[in-house]
């Protein structure tokens, strides 16, 4: 399938660029930026979302709130490639005067809100979704959240709100990489069973392998079209540090930085 090949190719490029960014900005959260690459790639390169880099806040855009901002440095190459800012910016992440910092913020074209602090994205997205519904607009609101972020109580305030107000234009995508900063979520405070929790709160849950591009694309595409009642949540089962064996095997991968030689080795293998 032509589209899938294209998306796979783009995802591989985004991954390489993310590693290159890590080489110059060791402080970025690499592992959690790697687990959501297929999701972001499908949404943008798969044209599931409507967007316009020339008019970033145009009314016709679908809204994507990246609530797990730390773990979205992989969004930088994608935004640059789509024309939100110059590609050269990717080579200056974290440097004095750069547009792009170690944690993305709302001053970067393509980011809607501030999410360096966790637990805010879903509630703000609920307000946006409610306003759009009231204006009878058909654009959708997508939220990308981490699983660890679900520990924030404010997220559950928003989960209740979305169901009560039947925000059926709202889609929450959980990058379920199962690891927080210090350990596996099952060992910190168990979040499972996530799908049952969401169902009990009035949401429609579905689940995919978050690294299977075909699954991710078709799930997101059908959620985009879905006008049935209730907010939707897609639990994307992912691997934190995906594609970097040393990170994949490490419960502390959130705070690990790779050495330059390791990055070069990985890039060489990818090519």
């Amino acid at each position: 399938m032509e589209l899938m090949e294209y998306l796979e190719k783009k995802a591989a490029w985004v991954k390489q660029e993310t590693l290159k960014i890590h080489r110059i900005a060791p402080g970025i959260r690499l592992a959690s930026s790697l687990s959501c690459i297929e999701i972001l790639t499908a949404l943008y390169y798969g044209k599931i979302l409507k967007y316009d880099p020339a008019d970033i806040y145009c009314e016709e855009r679908d809204r994507l709130i990246i609530s797990k901002a730390h773990g979205s440095v992989s969004f930088y190459p994608l935004l640059a490639d789509l024309g939100y800012f110059a590609l050269e910016e990717l080579g200056r992440v974290g440097k004095a005067g750069s547009l792009l910092g170690d944690i993305p913020d709302c001053s970067i074209p393509g980011y809607e809100t501030v999410n360096g602090s966790l637990g805010h994205g879903l509630g703000v997205a609920c307000g946006i979704a409610m306003a759009l519904k009231r204006k009878k607009r058909t654009e959708k609101v997508f939220v990308l959240s981490g699983d660890g972020e679900l520990y924030e109580g404010s997220v559950w305030e928003a989960i209740m709100f979305a169901a009560h107000h039947n925000l059926n234009n709202l889609v929450l995508v959980i990058d379920n990489n199962k690891i927080c900063m210090l350990d596996y979520c099952t060992r910190i405070l168990n979040l499972e069973p996530l799908d049952e929790k969401f169902r009990a709160f009035g949401w429609q849950p579905s689940e995919v392998d978050g690294h299977n591009m075909k699954e991710v694309y078709s799930a997101l595409q059908s959620l985009k079209q879905d006008g049935s009642d209730g907010p939707k949540v897609l639990i994307a089962n992912t691997v934190k540090g995906k594609g970097v064996p040393r990170l994949e095997a490490d419960s502390l991968c959130h705070i690990r930085a790779l050495k330059t030689e390791e990055i070069d080795q990985l890039l060489m293998e990818m090519n």
Binding site: C106, V114, V124, G127, I128, E157, F161
Partner: protein, 321 residues
């Protein structure tokens, strides 16, 4: 004298605006008011009760405002300003530097409005902590007339704002609303010569009573009502208070923590003023004593008689050779 609750005055105004302005939303954290019942009924699609969930109150308000709504978010002052402070910082203060957000936080229960309900419901911190936030407007009116005057400003100035409203009905300070300019942020409500009482909110009523009592003692006291704690033009304020050799700030806030007393101290310092400054407010402790507002003031040395005695002491002290 006729008294009115600030929130009722505000909600009545908003009700009228909502009839013609479809973009106005009223969001509550399950907090009501007699005047709110009609609004809830007639504008059911633009009145949203998020439940007892102040964090979500701020987040929902932000989302609505990002889509062009003018939002009034309503809750009890200490919970609005402190339970949700990080949401306010992130989604209103930080985000509004990049995107236009018109969210008006209506905090009801300034200072000791909720007197007998104890320290969780007292609100002595908000004017300090809200003034810290960049891009924010902090409004602290003393009566319903001033509160009503804020409505046009709140629609016109598309920034996040915090309204510190008293919970109890208060008499008018202003007979003529034209004496109130939001851009100036304060008003001289009584001229004097010997001492100037610079006050905000509920304490302006007390300042006027103290000024009367001082008058009986042969001391001429002016009163400046500061209703805009941020932004406030310090140079302009100095023009009104600079002539006094004695100044006292009066507020239902903690003192020495960045509220009105700090504003005035900074104005005096930057103008190289030699004026003597007395800060009247609450010290570094919570108020656990039980009783009505005046009792609590008395316990904390803020009753009229004690204030008059304090100021007389200051004034006579300075007259000694």
């Amino acid at each position: 004298m006729e008294t009115k609750v600030m929130r009722d005055a505000l909600i009545e105004q908003l009700y009228d605006r909502m009839r013609t302005n479809d973009d106005i939303f009223f969001v509550s954290a399950d907090f009501g008011a007699p005047a709110l019942d009609r609004l809830r009924e007639d504008f059911g699609d633009r009145f949203i009760n998020v439940g007892i969930a102040e964090q979500n109150l701020i987040n929902i308000a932000t989302g609505l405002a990002l889509e062009g709504a003018v939002v009034y978010a309503y809750a009890i002052a200490p919970f609005l300003s402190m339970r949700a402070y990080e949401q306010i910082r992130t989604n209103l203060s930080i985000l509004s530097q990049v995107r236009e957000i018109n969210v008006n936080l209506i905090g009801v229960g300034a200072g000791l409005s909720y007197d007998v309900t104890g320290p969780t419901h007292h609100c002595l911190e908000d004017s300090c902590i809200m003034r810290v936030l960049p891009n924010f407007v902090v409004f602290s009116p003393g009566d319903s007339v001033t509160t009503e005057q804020f409505v046009d400003y709140s629609l016109r100035v598309k920034k996040p704002k915090y309204l510190r409203l008293d919970g109890k009905a208060q008499p008018r300070i202003y007979d003529d609303p034209r004496k109130i300019s939001m851009e100036e942020g304060f008003s001289v409500v009584r001229e004097g010569k010997d001492v100037c009482l610079v006050s905000t909110g509920y304490m302006t009523h007390k300042a006027l009573r103290v000024a009367e009592m001082l008058e009986q003692e042969g001391i001429s006291a002016g009163v400046v009502d500061v209703f805009m704690l941020k932004p406030l033009d310090g140079e302009l304020l100095y023009k009104s208070v600079g002539k006094y050799s004695h100044i006292a700030t009066m507020e239902e806030s903690f003192i020495d923590k960045g509220s009105l007393d700090s504003i005035v101290a900074e104005v005096l310092r930057s103008s190289r003023s030699q004026a003597d400054l007395t800060k009247l407010g609450f010290g570094d402790r919570y108020v656990f004593e039980v009783g009505n507002r005046e009792h609590l003031h008395k316990v904390n040395g803020l009753d009229e008689a004690t204030i008059v005695r304090t100021l007389k002491g200051k004034l006579s002290g300075s007259r000694l050779p």
